[in-house]
């Protein structure tokens, strides 16, 4: 019964979404306020119905209702309640419901935080979002209904894929979807601007916080996925250039370009067409990511659906959305105008450089991800493009991006002078070069790549500090506190996010350069030395979990004879799916991780073990966390709140658009 209520709620939500698309868009085109006024209540109603649907599915999981096909395929009564409840988005149908639910959440947010925007604009934004919602709800109802009954009901469920029974599943998909779907707001703002033919600094000011928030969630979502892969897969790697990871990384790169381009549009009225194009591309890549992951064209832990009908539907929808928006762009973008002029050396030019590099990086990831699929589809053979390809592209592309990250924020708008930049940054440059060259020697191993990585990280840190000092320290140390307090929050956000990139770069560089690993056959009682730590293997015993049996190894780690930690890596076999999984044990410290994974029993009591010492690896995930907080600071900047209060005057302001 409850499942039918959920199903019914989905159908009503689809109806509401249709109304929300047609009436406000038509109303905005024809200037009918009563039609436009439908947008807000419709968005809220849709949210309520999707909430009901989502609650119904969650309830079915909570009470083990195995008369639902989706529940029976992905849950089991022996699973702990928190995995049962999060199994809602553990597979294809439910994750689509989460997608649609998240979208409606963003719509409700827009409906509440848009009081200051002109009515036709809100109507268009919500209309476009409604259209996206129609696509996804139709997809769900036609091909992937999570409320489908299984008759007769199963006695017991098939259980969730053991790899997904983890904290990672609880947090990673919702965060990632908040990001993916959040770009739909920037996208809808862009389309609304194209439809209305008006794109000015005020538009950029409205779009910016929304885009930043979506970007924040995407950043954390990707980082969580990476962390999950790191400890769950048992190989100590944190990024595999797997097509599914690429699918989330492409919109991130595009979104990063977008938030920088929006800065120029807001502050200088420039880059308008480019900003709109980036907004369209960022969301299109999010949709492409959904297609790649959900259509089953890729083989990975994320590819749930292998039904060609589903893939075709998403591909079709992707084609419609991207096609319409690019056509609209080609038709209307000239009206939006190009914006102000600037010199070759100026902050605009550097942000343009950053944008082009990020867009090219995104395109090269796209090539590496799609090319093997295309070659396969054309029957030209089977190829794969591995990490070496991506690494050999990313290092040369990201080096100039990071260099610009140091110079850009210091350069003046419109026209900057090279000698002045040199004078202001020479110490930062000198300190980072010398440290980057000497530090590896002190650490005992030098290579050009380590020095380059260190230089990039140090350059961001030193130039950010110099930047902060120049802004806040004009009156010397005594005026510093006042100077620091006077800096707007958005500026701190920028610095903080850039420092996050530095932390990430340090993590990648040091863990990549100085990690130690050993794969070793060990008898109980045997010890191995690595990086000053002694790992003593104390044998393996049996452990029983709620829905699995495990072999648990005991590894005693000591340093200079003092015990530091006892690590307990496991090898689990889940009761229903009978697949072995490796649960590594990690002693996570701020400056280093110790990582132990069980291999396989070799002979007698001996096992093969995998041991890692990974310095600074934690910083790889701390970096994105800092970017998240940087984004939070920027999005909560006072001027957006002021803009909200002041905005009723908007209609009276002349548009800044030119051309």
């Amino acid at each position: 019964m409850i499942a039918e209520i959920g199903h019914f709620a989905l159908i009503i939500a689809l109806g509401v979404a249709l109304v929300q698309t047609i009436l406000p868009l038509a109303g905005a085109a024809r200037g009918l306020p009563s039609w436009m006024a439908v947008a807000r209540p419709a968005a809220r109603a849709q949210f309520v119905f999707l909430l009901v649907a989502f609650a119904c599915l969650t309830q079915a999981f909570a009470v083990n209702d195995f008369s639902l096909l989706y529940v029976a395929s992905n849950s089991n009564s022996a699973m702990p309640w928190y995995y049962r409840v999060t199994a809602v988005w553990g597979a294809h149908e439910g994750s689509l419901l989460l997608w649609a639910f998240t979208l409606s959440g963003w719509m409700v947010a827009v409906s509440f935080f848009s009081r200051s925007l002109p009515q036709d604009f809100v109507a268009r934004v919500l209309g476009v979002m409604g259209f996206i919602s129609v696509g996804f709800l139709l997809f769900m109802l036609l091909t992937s209904n999570p409320f489908e009954r299984l008759l007769p009901a199963a006695v017991e469920g098939r259980e969730l894929n053991p790899l997904l029974q983890d904290f990672g599943l609880i947090a990673h998909p919702p965060m990632l979807y908040m990001g993916y779907v959040g770009f739909s707001v920037a996208f809808s703002f862009a389309i609304a601007a194209l439809l209305g033919g008006k794109l000015d600094a005020a538009w950029a000011r409205w779009s910016r916080p929304w885009t930043t928030v979506a970007w924040m969630f995407l950043t954390v979502g990707i980082a969580l996925g990476s962390w999950w892969a790191y400890y769950e897969l048992g190989w100590g790697g944190w990024w595999f250039w797997d097509p599914v990871e690429n699918a989330s990384f492409m919109p991130w790169l595009m979104g990063t370009a977008l938030i920088h381009s929006l800065a120029v549009t807001e502050k200088r009225g420039g880059f308008k067409s480019w900003t709109v194009l980036l907004a369209i591309l960022a969301f299109s890549l999010s949709l492409l990511g959904t297609f790649l992951v959900r259509s089953g064209v890729l083989t990975s832990v994320h590819a749930f659906a292998t039904d060609p009908e589903r893939g075709l539907f998403i591909l079709l929808f992707l084609g419609v959305v991207v096609g319409i928006s690019l056509a609209l762009y080609a038709w209307r973008a000239p009206r939006v105008g190009l914006g102000g002029d600037f010199a070759l050396v100026s902050r605009e030019a550097m942000l343009l450089g950053n944008n082009v590099l990020l867009a090219v990086a995104s395109a090269s990831v796209l090539l590496g991800t799609l090319y093997p699929l295309i070659v396969d589809a054309l029957g030209l053979g089977k190829i794969s493009v591995g990490p070496p390809y991506f690494n050999s592209i990313f290092i040369p592309l990201m080096t100039p991006v990071i260099f610009l990250m140091g110079v850009g924020p210091i350069a003046r708008w419109k026209q900057a002078s090279v000698p002045e930049l040199v004078v202001r940054l020479r110490w930062a440059l000198a300190v980072s070069v010398v440290t980057a060259l000497l530090l590896p020697v002190v650490l005992g191993k030098w290579s050009p790549m380590i020095s380059l990585g260190l230089f990039m990280a140090l350059w961001i840190i030193t130039s950010s500090l110099k930047n902060l000092w120049d802004v806040a320290g004009r009156n010397g140390l005594s005026g510093l506190t006042r100077g620091l307090a006077a800096i707007p929050r958005g500026y701190y956000g920028m610095l903080f996010a850039h420092l996050g990139v530095a932390a990430f770069a340090l993590g990648v560089c040091i863990s990549g350069g100085y990690s130690q690993e050993k794969e070793q056959r060990m008898e109980p009682g045997q010890s191995v030395e690595m990086s000053g730590y002694t790992f003593r293997f104390d044998g393996v015993h049996d452990v029983t979990g709620p829905n699995y049996q495990a072999k648990e190894g005991v590894v005693n780690v000591s340093r200079n004879g003092k015990e530091i930690v006892v690590m307990r890596p496991q090898k689990r076999v889940y009761l229903v799916q009978r697949n072995p999984t490796t649960e590594a044990d990690i002693d996570a410290g701020f400056l280093r991780h110790l990582y132990v994974a069980l291999g396989e029993p070799v002979s007698g009591e001996a096992w093969s073990l995998r041991l890692y010492y990974k310095p600074f690896v934690q910083w790889i995930w701390m970096g994105p966390l800092m970017m998240f907080f940087g984004g939070l600071l920027a999005a909560s900047d006072r001027r957006y709140r002021l803009a909200t209060r002041r905005a009723p005057h908007y209609a009276a302001q002349p548009a800044l658009a030119r051309g």
Partner: protein
């Protein structure tokens, strides 16, 4: 040409130059890093197979898995039920590596015709086989069961 136009021209040329360089870089990296996939029967027909990195896929032949005394070096045969290729891998095998099941190995063929794997990928559940493997088996004329599931990664970049 006004100064503004000239500046625009310089801009556009710089961007084109940058994008062109990036494209050259990308395509070059691409050519160097493409890895082709073959089944054992196909591998026999490939010329100069030992000159480049490739992926070999098929079933792990029953009874072929042998371990050396160090507990880490493993020898096994990959077969498509028509031809078999000997494989050597040093390292811990993925959780789902088993005799009679699908496997993909990445590495190089040495001069003695032994495939030196530096990465081994195994199937992820009971009724799954990597689609490439399934197809290679089909082409070689072997039997292909029904598959669905997940590919897991093992032994990265060693």
């Amino acid at each position: 040409m006004t100064p503004r136009h000239r500046r625009r021209l310089v801009f556009v040329s710089l961007i084109l130059l940058g994008v062109g360089a990036a494209a050259a870089l990308t395509l070059n990296a691409f050519r160097g890093n493409m890895v082709f996939f073959y089944g054992p029967s196909q591998l026999a027909t490939v010329e100069k197979a030992h000159e480049r990195n490739l992926r070999l896929g098929g079933l792990v032949e029953q009874g072929s898995v042998k371990r050396e005394d160090d507990g880490l070096t493993v020898h096994f045969m990959v077969t498509d039920n028509v031809k078999s290729v000997p494989v050597v891998y040093k390292g811990i095998l993925p959780d789902l590596f088993r005799e009679g099941q699908g496997v993909v190995a990445q590495g190089r063929l040495n001069n003695e015709g032994v495939f030196m794997a530096d990465e081994v990928l195994a199937k992820h559940d009971e009724n799954y086989m990597p689609p490439e493997v399934a197809e290679a088996l089909k082409q070689a004329g072997g039997q292909t069961p029904q598959f669905s599931g997940t590919l897991m990664q093992g032994g990265l970049n060693k």
